[in-house]
């Protein structure tokens, strides 16, 4: 099969061919490296390409040839968001302040990828320290949306989503603090999953907001996400917030869902507050069509109200900056990373200040200042304290909504991809992009974004968000895979089959 065909396989299909011996990991890895080389100048998904990928792939091939028993994704290439520590590649979190820093250890999820014998291709671009919804806040230049190179790929994980949509990787890891996996998924026509808080280890994921961050899969299909989740998930003693319980197989759940084709008896809750005003018309239309498809397949559509979701963004933009202001204090030049000495030298405080002044971009500074203010004596109760109360109310809203519905649905983003630069000077407009995704982070529940079709007015992808109660990730994979199959049947094709050619001869 041609290299062009190889890169268009889903990860599950590729894994099958590797297992069957129809394709080697070296061939697949080489096909992706060639693709990266061809389109990277236009997309800029990657910050670093691994020099070891082919060697790693060759080792998998020889072990497979020697009859070693390998995991289901062994030999499948993967892209890793640059927020995750890798001891063989620089890890910058998209920031100047960490330029060239190579961690002395692997994040737990990266160690698990390696143990499962996946092949790391490189590190993907992101908004600096995952602060942003467009990847324009990367210190290393924006990533472009493969659907339209003048548009943003979402953020903060725009690099991972664009790499998937541009066929530069079959799988990617992302991190989601307020939508950084799901919103890029929506605007690039890919699948993104934010697991239950505590479902995937945060050890080695450079923290943005510790109580909100989760690492998760970015893929082309729900089954691919489930296969990857099975590899990275589960308890990690190095992360105290990781859940000690055993998890069911998510891949089994996804396969069950895809096979059933039916949503009989599934109660699908439409969250009233996550739609209507402020949502692009084509997004709303696609959402309505998705609901019709689900209803036809037997789902019982119910409207639910989550009144406190209205306050989610306000609470989020207090909790996140507060935690981030503290998490980012360690970037002081003393032990690692960039160091700027002011002219004529200075005290250690002068060096810290000069380093942070030059090393951090404007969005990071904005949030550090916000967070420092929100935690200050005399303001704590009014800001951070109140935000935590809102968080509790949102958790209650979820609890009562899940009494009426098995899954909740909404558009995954209010609009399709906007133009580069369009919202860069208007932080509030940028923040509103995460209006639908933030509640899941505040409550710790899992959320998934799957392609919902192209918006009629601009031909760009839209995303459907599905949410389930905490620890019910398997339910999302099962229902998600069913809906994915039903929607593709209704369109007669997958969304990514419509992504425009990026290079000559591309089909």
């Amino acid at each position: 099969m041609s290299a062009g065909d190889v890169i268009r396989l889903s990860a599950a299909q590729l894994a099958e061919k590797l297992t069957a011996g129809e394709l080697s990991s070296v061939e697949a890895t080489q096909a992706y490296l060639d693709r990266i080389e061809a389109v990277e100048p236009r997309v800029n998904s990657y910050l670093h390409i691994s020099k070891d990928a082919l060697d790693t792939a060759a080792k998998v091939d020889s072990d497979r040839a020697a009859g070693e028993k390998l995991g289901p994704l062994a030999g499948v290439p993967i892209a890793i968001k640059d927020v995750l520590c890798t001891q063989d590649m620089p890890t910058t979190a998209g920031s100047r302040i960490l330029e060239g820093w190579v961690p002395p250890y692997d994040a737990t999820v990266v160690a698990r990828l390696r143990r499962a014998r996946l092949v790391p291709l490189g590190k993907t671009n992101m908004d600096e320290f995952a602060m942003g919804s467009s990847t324009e806040h990367s210190a290393y230049g924006p990533t472009r949306n493969p659907w339209d190179l003048d548009r943003i790929p979402g953020g903060s994980g725009g690099g991972s989503a664009a790499a998937i949509a541009a066929f530069q990787a079959p799988l990617a890891l992302g991190s989601d603090t307020g939508g950084s996996i799901r919103q890029p998924g929506a605007v690039t026509g890919t699948v993104g999953m934010k697991p239950t808080y505590g479902g995937v280890s945060r050890y080695g994921a450079i923290a943005l907001a510790s109580s909100l961050d989760q690492v998760g899969p970015v893929t082309r299909t729900v089954l691919d996400a489930a296969l990857l989740h099975d590899v990275i998930g589960g308890h990690d003693p190095r992360d105290s917030t990781s859940i000690p319980d055993a998890w069911p197989s998510f891949a089994d759940a996804a396969r069950r869902g895809a096979a059933s084709g039916s949503l009989d008896g599934v109660r699908v809750g439409v969250v009233k507050e996550l739609g209507g005003d402020g949502f692009q018309q084509g997004v709303s239309e696609r959402f309505a069509q998705a609901l019709e498809v689900m209803e036809k397949a037997g789902a019982q559509i119910v409207e639910v109200s989550a009144p406190h979701f209205t306050y989610a963004i306000a609470a989020y933009y207090l909790i996140l900056p507060a935690e981030a202001s503290s998490n980012l204090a360690k970037f002081d030049s003393v032990r690692f990373g960039m160091r700027v000495t002011p002219p004529g030298g200075g005290t250690v405080e002068d060096v810290m200040a000069a380093t942070r002044e030059l090393g951090f971009g404007p969005e990071v500074k904005r949030r550090v200042i916000l967070g420092t203010y929100a935690l200050s004596a005399g303001y704590y109760d009014a800001y951070y304290g109140s935000a935590q109360k809102v968080r509790t109310l949102i958790q209650r809203d979820f609890a009562s909504a899940f009494e009426q519905a098995d899954v909740l649905v909404s558009p995954a983003a209010p609009t399709t991809a906007f133009k580069l630069g369009e919202k860069l000077e208007d932080p509030l407009a940028m923040y509103l992009n995460d209006v639908t995704t933030i509640p899941a982070n505040l409550a710790g529940v899992p959320g998934m974004s799957i392609p919902m079709g192209l918006a009629p007015e601009d031909g760009l992808p839209t995303g459907l968000q599905l949410m389930a109660p905490a620890r019910a990730d398997a339910r999302l994979y099962e229902v998600g895979a069913t809906v994915e199959a039903l929607l593709e049947q209704s369109w007669g094709h997958s969304i990514l089959s419509k992504v425009p050619a990026l290079v000559g001869g591309d089909n």
Partner: protein, 504 residues
């Protein structure tokens, strides 16, 4: 630094009432650190390690690293809380204390703020005259230690004027319990003594619990002493200062006395006390101002999101309560009876802060009188000369070993003193020193007889006197023999042999 004026202590107490408060930090001797699996330098295994060798990504605060609570540290903290008579919180929480300093790897310290693990307790402290004072405990909370800065260049070794500074993160993340008292009223002229007795009691408690090496000279136990004065008859508390760097029981007492005298002089002259941290200087016996401190210091505390609340089960708490050793007060009463010392002798040991040393020496096999003799004699004398605590000079095990060597006849008292010098100089265990210095009593009669015969031959007139039955004349020969043996002989045996040899 101009020498500040001090008021006469008795005069100061006449005019003002001293109010004390203490923050004692105890380094726990757990196997690993508070939040990482790095070895803990606050136990004997880790002590003295090369800089920056006992570290993990967590201790360096590397991006992506996360803390995990050390269960042993939690159990130690609960035991300590119980020994302080505190209630143990069914749920307590860690919080981040945010401030920038290069010895603080993350630029925040993980501590406990509004939800400490232990709160509301009381410690009985005994003054020199045997009077018992209850010191009220506000709270005891868990936190991590910071790294250690060494300032290079500049005259003072302090950060001002230094060319550069080195950071050793071995200490970063060492488990600490901070014990905070409520304001202590009514100590009056005994305030300095109470300060010493309080810290000494805390030291005894943590050592009896076996949760800390509690060696002040190593920083295992650190005391910040808060002192304020209020004019007699005034209700409102005066402004307090917080004196740091008091690294021995002696200096706790001296520092509190000094602050009372210094503040009294300022207040009497119509001045005001600045709320500040002050630094104690052991050499000059003074305090100097550190950084100004105010209640407005904003550490932006918030609950540590990387950690879950600490929720010990009732079973665990009760198990630890049942395992508590007797309190220092009870222990004092028991030991006094067991040892049969006079009131004066026993109180002297307590006042010297050596009760635990003596009792551990007895536990290691020494007779109580012998243990008392060495600690209160030779060791206390040397400690006074050097201005240190006697406990820093030798361990109870070493003293017990020394006593055993004397009991076995291997050492005379005089030789034992030389061996103890070696112990104090860090030359090793008593047995090693006996070996290395060749100090054992010569019990080989052959060597003694040769020396005696030689001495008798050299003094024929003395020999004649002995043969005439003037036994006391043997004294001159004993002296000569002991000199020839360089003291390593048992004088009684020498005398016996002289009388024997003289008759041949």
């Amino acid at each position: 630094m101009a020498k500040p004026e001090l008021m006469d202590f008795d005069k100061a107490i006449e005019l003002f009432e001293p109010v004390l408060g203490f923050e004692v930090h105890v380094e726990l001797s757990t196997k690993t650190k508070m939040f990482s699996d790095a070895p803990n330098p606050a136990n004997d295994d880790g002590h003295g390690a090369e800089p920056n060798t006992l570290i993990t990504p967590v201790d360096l605060g590397l991006p992506g690293s996360l803390p995990v609570v050390n269960g042993q540290a939690v159990r130690y903290s609960i035991s300590l809380g119980l020994a302080l008579g505190c209630s143990i919180a069914p749920s307590s929480r860690f919080a981040r204390k945010n401030y920038f300093y290069p010895d603080l790897a993350k630029n925040y310290q993980i501590s406990q703020y509004d939800e400490p693990i232990a709160f509301e307790g009381s410690v009985e402290v005994e003054l020199e005259d045997g009077r018992l004072v209850q010191v009220p405990i506000e709270r005891a909370h868990m936190e991590e230690d910071a790294g250690k800065l060494t300032h290079v260049g500049g005259a003072t070794g302090r950060i001002q004027g230094a060319e550069y500074s080195l950071v050793d993160y071995n200490r970063a993340g060492v488990p600490l319990v901070e014990i905070v008292t409520k304001p202590i009223f009514g100590a009056e002229a005994d305030a300095p003594q109470l300060a010493k007795a309080y810290v000494s009691t805390i030291r005894d408690i943590v050592r009896a619990l076996g949760i800390s090496d509690a060696r002040m000279e190593r920083g295992n136990l650190r005391c910040d002493a808060n002192v304020s004065l209020r004019p007699r008859g005034q209700e409102k508390l005066g402004t307090r200062t917080e004196t740091k760097n008091v690294n021995s029981l002696r200096s706790v007492e001296r520092a509190v006395r000094y602050e009372i005298q210094r503040q009294a002089a300022i207040l009497a002259a119509g001045g005001t006390i600045i709320q500040e941290t002050r630094h104690w200087h052991e050499d000059t016996g003074r305090t100097s101002p550190g950084r100004p401190k105010s209640d407005a210091d904003d550490y932006r505390y918030f609950p540590e999101p990387d950690l879950l609340p600490v929720e010990p089960s009732l079973d665990l708490i009760e198990e630890l309560r049942a395992a508590l050793p007797e309190s220092p007060a009870l222990m004092r009463r028991r030991l006094k009876t067991d040892w049969g010392f006079s009131d004066v002798d026993f109180q002297a040991i307590v006042n010297a802060g050596l009760l635990v040393e003596v009792s551990e020496t007895v536990a290691a096999g020494a007779a109580p009188q012998a243990a008392r003799k060495w600690w209160m004699g030779e060791l206390s004398r040397t400690a006074n000369e050097r201005g240190v605590d006697a406990s820093t000079l030798a361990t109870p095990q070493q003293v017990a070993e020394l006593v055993a060597l004397v009991d076995a006849g291997t050492l005379t008292d005089r030789l034992a003193r030389q061996v103890l010098e070696g112990v104090i100089a860090g030359e090793g265990s008593p047995e090693e020193i006996v070996e290395a210095r060749g100090l054992a009593v010569v019990s080989d009669d052959g060597a003694l007889i040769a020396a005696i015969d030689e001495a008798l031959a050299a003094q024929p007139d003395v020999l004649a006197k002995i043969r005439d039955g003037k036994v006391q004349a043997a004294g001159a020969v004993i002296g000569a023999v002991m000199k020839a043996m360089r003291g390593s002989a048992d004088a009684a045996r020498v005398r016996e042999l002289i009388l024997e040899r003289a008759q041949q």
